[in-house]
Symmetry: C2
């Protein structure tokens, strides 16, 4: 089992400037590497008014200088906002300075306020995403000059440099949930990010679709190709459990509100990426790594039994203290295969 | 007198990958800080096929983690290529992670191959530049939501975050040469980058225009508001002098060629930014810091007498060895005012 982080800086209570929240987040990531977390996947969001992380690749480049082994991911870079050539250059630069540690997560965008702010038609999101991803890959893997005439972008006689350190390109991660999109990712050799809200059963089905499709097209399954994001609500006392769930529900409601066009409310059920979000207490209970260490271990074992070998934790408020607690009380169960083998034999 | 660096990574002889050239450049910058250079200003170029630096802000963010005191500049960010909102977010992020060390140099672009590659009409460069700079500043200094309807860009109900660490915004540096543009920069409170090719007389006039305009509009002149870029051709033996000039002339000719639209040659005299470039040997002699230490010191004194207090050195091949030589044999003359005062008194 591998563990990583999923999230980004944003102003919390008691932080009145972006500088303070970014610094706290940076310290958190650096400490996570020391504790054994293998990656950080940064979100990209815009226009929330909460000092959210917007320039993920810029921050990853900074983190590349402060970390040694950690994979540096985006989850996800929203393709419709970016000029694909500039994006290819920026991401390749992160890959170079990190000695090939970039995991490039891509998506089409889903937040109404971002489409509204950037004046991009949500109806074009899929086409813009496809065209931009095709072009980024072309930039990374083409050593001669080329011209590109797409529906949205046009370039003439360009050679786009630098090229990334990882050949032919950094792993592409797709946020996916439906059977069609997961099977397509497997066929294309892309990695998959599964959302924070899927149940164990949904997650098991998604992992199975991916592996089945790999088999069908003759690809060998590797470790760490599918990462499941989960809220981390580890507590040291059972009394704190309910408060953590409350806080998570409030955070989700707040996130959902900041995703709407200013002055409007969500229409219909809340969407989170491609998933329809169950905002009930039961759903939060079911889809988080919550509780005291024994319970968290049991929940991670359930994911493991569902075929999961990589979990990205999202925890916007527990800070380094919760990471340390996790590293001390939960992680050793999963990171020492020899010990685990002995335990099983015993 | 302050000294900084001006330039960027690119594949040199013996380097067959971008990774190697970026690493060498990074080591060079880190060593420069140790030696007492106060800044690095990175170029932004595209489509040369020489592995040039394209994502300057991304690389500056990485350098922010490896340096402590050095100012981190762009020279220049070419505004017409960038979405101003994404650019504001990226530059503010660099400013945050570096604890307020960003110097934001901006320009309208001048290379025919870049306008051709990005399919931007050079006739729109000035208008695109003005609109984008206005919008970046609005993003950085506006704490409420706003909409923007320019000629080229449209945004709706956005609040752009993070905000930079430097209030109200990082210094804006303008590459300028004409009297009109230099006086305008002084009126606007912008800093000025002077080119590598101006003579002492031109440089003196430009500094004088800036200071005169500051006086006229009641601004107090500060140290380090005007930086002059110069080729650094310091040598340890007089015999090496001619080779260095040859190499610089060849490098300028190569740069000029890679700036053209592929398959075409420059029409008329070579332009370098807003300057018409004198590519003669005499001009290279006159406008570089060339020769053995005593000569370099004399040439820097001439600039000092012309009102210059900040020089950015460009040296694409001398590497850390030349920087160390400079720090040992030239820099002490200028960085120790007490000693220099004693020498003058003597």
């Amino acid at each position: 089992m591998r563990f990583g982080l999923f999230g980004g800086a944003s102003r919390g209570a008691g932080q009145d400037g972006d500088s303070q929240s970014y610094r706290a987040f940076i310290d958190y990531v650096v400490e996570a590497e020391r504790l054994g977390f293998e990656s950080v996947f940064l979100v990209e969001h815009h226009f929330t008014g909460t000092g959210q992380l917007s320039a993920s690749l810029t921050l990853l480049s900074y983190l590349a200088g402060l970390t040694k082994t950690m994979r540096l991911g985006t989850a996800v870079t929203v393709m419709p906002w970016h000029n694909p050539v500039l994006l290819a250059e920026q991401a390749a630069t992160v890959d170079l300075v990190s000695n090939g540690r970039l995991d490039f997560g891509v998506g089409r965008g889903y937040r109404p306020n971002e489409f509204h702010g950037f004046r991009v038609d949500p109806g074009e999101a899929q086409a813009r995403y496809e065209e931009a991803l095709e072009l980024v890959l072309k930039c990374w893997t083409t050593k001669e000059r080329f011209s590109f005439d797409g529906h949205f972008w046009h370039f003439r006689d360009v050679i786009v440099e630098p090229h990334p350190a990882q050949a032919p390109n950094p792993p592409i991660w797709i946020a996916a949930g439906s059977e069609g999109s997961i099977r397509q990712a497997a066929r294309r050799g892309q990695h998959v990010l599964l959302d924070q809200f899927g149940t164990i059963e949904q997650t098991a089905a998604r992992v199975a679709w991916y592996k089945d499709e790999q088999k069908k097209c003759g690809r060998t399954s590797q470790a760490g190709e599918i990462a499941v994001t989960r809220g981390l609500l580890l507590v040291d006392q059972e009394e704190k459990r309910a408060t953590e769930i409350d806080r998570r529900l409030a955070a989700i409601a707040f996130l959902s509100a900041t995703s709407q066009i200013p002055g409007t409310k969500a229409e219909g059920p809340t969407k989170f990426g491609s998933s329809t979000l169950d905002t009930s207490r039961g759903a939060a209970e079911a889809s988080t790594i919550v509780g005291q260490p024994e319970e968290c271990i049991r929940r991670i074992r359930e994911l493991e039994a569902a075929g999961v070998d990589y979990i990205l934790f999202n925890d916007p408020w527990g800070g380094v203290e919760r990471l340390r607690h996790f590293a001390r009380a939960v992680m050793p169960e999963f990171l020492a295969p020899a010990k685990s083998g002995v335990a099983m034999a015993g």
